[in-house]
Assembly symmetry: none
Homo-oligomer: 203 residues x 4
DNA sequence: CATGAATGAGGGTTCATTCAT
DNA sequence: TATGAATGAACCCTCATTCAT
């Protein structure tokens, strides 16, 4: 990744960008030939860099998680209370949902230790925000970091039958209502949480 | 559908059930051979009943919309105010999300007039519930029927990397927070809604 | 193999014949497309009948062993002493070496239980011939059935750089000298035999 | 070959050794990448030294023929009558059959004039041995140098399904019987020899 | 000179679709 | 009508070969 020749690194980036786009548009089963074509490289180049489909999916997902973590850190750095942090975080999540392909991805990704590390870091930071919110009495006590991750995943899912900006607007509105619902006033208890640890391979 | 011989109708049902399962498990691009095999009919039989993949997808989606409409009608019939209706509706939606494959489906479905009719009916009924809720001061004025459909779609999406019951719990909790967020108290304005009419082919 | 539809069985035979020819001409790595083309069937038909290259190789080899066993039985049926039997056997082997692709084949074939059964039968029959020859004092005591199989394998090997009839003549002459060498008179001891049992998976 | 820089010559040798091994293990169709990898040089280096696959095959074959000629000369130098010479020659052939890849090789090799020269030399020397043997009455009159080359070729062929030492023992035993068969006593006439001249490109 | 990145043709395999039984 | 055999286009992947570093 770092020791690559200049042209090789450039190609790697082009391939990842093309994969990101096509995964969103057509799912991760899209033809690798198409990815190579959109990236304007030969199919052999794609295979040299990513030995199989999973390697490509994993790296796209990895960048997604990195983007997610960066969004969270930026939201915290922007200051404001925990409510403002989540508002800002989800604003960025919806805005950058093209890069957050994360929720598209099935099982294999989870196995990658780099992904697991990022997931752990993100979960930890979210827990801190939630703890602040609970302490300040502005967030329900029963919502967990897993719930927030799940909400982000749902909001990022592509809706292929909707035009892009409509899907964006719908996601933004959905998230706004959801965040509004995080306030504790008059809330009924949530259904029980089930063990989601293995989502992270944290067990 | 109705004028079919008994065994032919039985085959049709077996095929639809198999398709529903496999669409959820593997997406709508799953091999038709696999569907025929799981349905325990020959591939030729599948083709006799459903001339192409889209016909099968359409019929599965149609059943999904019918299930959704039935859930809505049952929720209204159960009585209670508009809040109770939405609670009950979404409870059923999450519970029966296996059949609500609707949100899995891309563009082609929209073209079918039967689907459009069902969508119109569902949207109309949802608007009525929302109107009641607004009149009673228990629902935000700026949430639309489209938002509710969108929320249902997001909640129904399969999360293939999560074990089934974990995904169900996450969806139920998400929906609970979302519905809580529908209350008007202290709500900030939602982002603008964009025209989603073509989602229904209503334009 | 037996329960096949008439046209399906016809295709199966055409594919096996084409494979036999091309394996000899170009080795077992020959393009399967080429086999399908020579057999005048679609590539899909080939794959329906033989799920992978090994399945095809195995079946070709199987027919080879059946041919070999038939040659041995015919040679014995023709009567004459053990020397005449081996003469006749090897005459047939060289003559039909196109079908005796057996020696072309590497490891995977051995695993097939049908192949192992044939190998056992052939070895047993060869031992009987050798025993008769030894009893009559016309065959070296130290030659084994494995040696005879090995000799047949060597003689059947294609020599792609030689024109077909030249290779045949060379093989026939080689075999003649070899058989002549089987006589006990004045023979020096053979080098030790090494365990070849696993060739048959007999261990 | 001679005017090469020291490191270049070292690379050349490493490539030839790797090719010899892999040709025997997997045939001459083995991937050139694999040869470069086993030789621990870049693929570009291999191509600089050997412009195409045939050049590499030719050089490996050339070394094989040189090895064969050396074995023949050593056998003659060891003294003893013609029978002893052939015994010693074939002992060496079986022993060094790894280097005698010659019989693996198809048509292209023949074209190289250096190979043809070696073949002619070897054939000539073999004829001399046979002539001595015939004169001494210890060798059949109808066996030719071509037959001996053919016997060597058959004995050198790899038998990939047999463990290495078993294949060696089988070859040694086969050769012993064959050489025993070369004696004239009581021999029946051999089948006619066909013109094999073009094997050498001597026509 | 050595290296290894890039290329794309070609072979392996799957699967949607047609059609003979 | 039900079946499953046949077909071939399209996708996956490898590897010979060229060329920039």
């Amino acid at each position: 990744m770092t020791g690559l020749r200049a042209d090789a690194r450039r190609n790697r980036e082009k391939i990842l960008a093309a994969a990101r786009e096509l995964f969103r548009e057509q799912g991760t089963a899209v033809a690798l030939d198409d990815i190579a074509r959109r990236a304007e490289v030969g199919i052999g180049t794609l295979y040299r860099r990513f030995p199989d489909r999973d390697a490509l999916i994993t790296d796209v997902a990895l960048e997604g998680f990195e983007t997610g973590l960066a969004a969270l850190e930026a939201a915290r750095a922007a200051g404001g209370g925990p409510v403002a942090v989540l508002d800002e975080l989800f604003r960025r999540v919806v805005e950058q949902r093209d890069r957050l392909v994360m929720p598209l991805i099935g099982g294999p990704v989870v196995r990658d230790p780099r992904v697991r590390g990022l997931q752990r870091t993100i979960l930890g930071a979210l827990e801190e925000v939630l703890a602040e919110g609970r302490a300040a009495g502005v967030m329900r006590a029963d919502v967990t970091a897993f719930d927030l991750i799940g909400a982000a995943a749902m909001a990022c899912r592509p809706m292929p039958h909707l035009p892009r900006e409509a899907a964006g607007a719908l996601a933004a509105r959905h998230v706004a209502v959801y965040l509004h619902g995080l306030r504790p006033q008059g809330a009924l208890a949530l259904p029980d949480m089930v063990e989601v640890g293995e989502y992270l391979g944290l067990d």
